[in-house]
Symmetry: C2
Subunit: 241 residues, 2 copies
DNA sequence: GAGATGCTTCGGTTACGATCGAAGTATGAA
DNA sequence: TTCATACTTCGATCGTAACCGAAGCATCTC
């Protein structure tokens, strides 16, 4: 018997295809019922029930009962972060499942990553904030500048409110589809909520992709402009790591 | 079939107890032979051989042949970082294997975490550097200050040389035994190498624990002092995340 | 060249965990 | 109260992957 953390325990929970599908579905940020998760996993309710029990016992999921419905979410941000890390690593080693179709470009363009914007638009948003001097990069850390606080305050982001909670304001999250970073943390979450509230964007049914309305898209691209061509503020991912 | 990174693939590679033992052994930072890894995993050579082939095909390990010996290492820093993340998460959920005995306190005191110092001494080193103003904390990022560059330069750390390579200089790494952060990145590695070169510390056989000589310990504690009691520069881990 | 050592491959065995049909429990609607 | 729906539990089945003995290959030593 070895000592220390039992990584096999965590690995085997994530390593079953049905459970992995459930976890991926929950990365969409919504609470899902057992029936929905069974469908997402492609197994019967009985099988799903057993898997959900294991994931909950292992500390990856939390359950909330509402009448006869059982709603499941990722247990906390740490699980989201863990799964993001494994997704980024899997992508870097070429372990990708691929289903060509209309959804794939949509997922690459804009999707939710647990609670923040990922995809091309998520990467662009971070790049633009860095380029504008609103976010500064320190090692692997991101920090909102005074300028950035003002800029985002002007679109209705309560930055001081966000600072008062314990969660990190800005966090870099590896974007597996763009192989570069997008913005996670409480600021990332607040920005995406802001876009939903303004009606610029909305979730799509049964998918992690995010749909921007034409007007929302226009406003988003105006708010987060990027200079054309080189001069992109991020180093390529595999150089940065 | 779902789209995106195949987290089940990575999860199942890590999820087998024998493979997990091998990966954990390799977190010691040394290249190990197939025979050594079989022993670490508690399986026969044939079983170990099959497992090593899978880990290599999956992108987690790299192999180097030397005569009839096959030496294995983690494929790169990303694998180390991934495993660190899983270890930290497993510890936070209580998934710990426990073998009471003389080695456990030694592992808690000082051990190697792939290529840098972990354990109580690793946490203390980072805390002290922050307290002294040698490292500043920005969000989740760590940055070496001018003062820090001077301080570490005085003990023989070539900081500008380290800055010139692509790897991040300072990186926060969750310490599963202390539940707080220690210093990873190229600076973390350089510091540990420095202690080895000075003879302050050395590896122990068949263990990830690190032994400090009495003189080395005295010098280490002098170089990285900590104020007594509260006022510790790091927030408690689960508050910070 | 023969023997030893490190490791891989082959083929067979077995245990275990995922799976689901059937039955049961809890909750909500008519 | 009865029926419907969401979900859990039980028990049986089956596939798969880990396991290892035996054989084979590559390299090193005497």
């Amino acid at each position: 018997m070895k000592e220390g953390p039992d990584i096999a325990q965590i690995g085997s929970l994530i390593g079953d295809p049905a459970r992995a599908n459930m976890l991926t579905a929950l990365m969409g940020g919504r609470a899902l019922t057992a029936t929905e998760l069974a469908a997402a996993a492609g197994v019967t309710l009985q099988t799903a029930s057993a898997h959900l029990a294991k994931l909950e016992a292992g500390g990856l999921l939390a359950q909330r009962k509402q009448g006869r419905h059982r709603y499941f979410t990722l247990a906390d941000d740490r699980v989201g972060k863990l799964l993001e890390g494994i997704m980024g690593f899997a992508a870097s080693r070429g372990h990708l499942r691929h289903r060509p179709g209309p959804k794939e470009p949509a997922l690459r363009k804009a999707r939710i990553c647990y609670d923040h914007l990922a995809g091309d638009y998520g990467v662009r948003m971070l790049d633009s904030l860095i380029e504008a001097g609103s976010i500064s990069v320190v090692g692997e850390g991101l920090s909102l500048t005074a300028h950035g606080e003002k800029q985002l305050g002007s679109i209705g982001i309560d930055v001081s409110g966000l600072r008062s909670n314990r969660r990190p304001l800005c966090r870099s999250c590896l974007d597996w589809s763009e192989r570069r970073a997008h913005l996670a943390g409480s600021l990332g979450k607040a920005l995406l909520s802001n876009f939903f509230e303004k009606g610029w964007a909305r979730r799509t049914e049964n998918s992690r992709s995010i749909f921007f309305t034409p007007e929302g898209e226009r406003r988003f691209l105006t708010l987060f402009p990027l200079e054309l061509g080189d001069g992109n503020p991020q180093l390529e991912l595999d150089e940065k790591l």
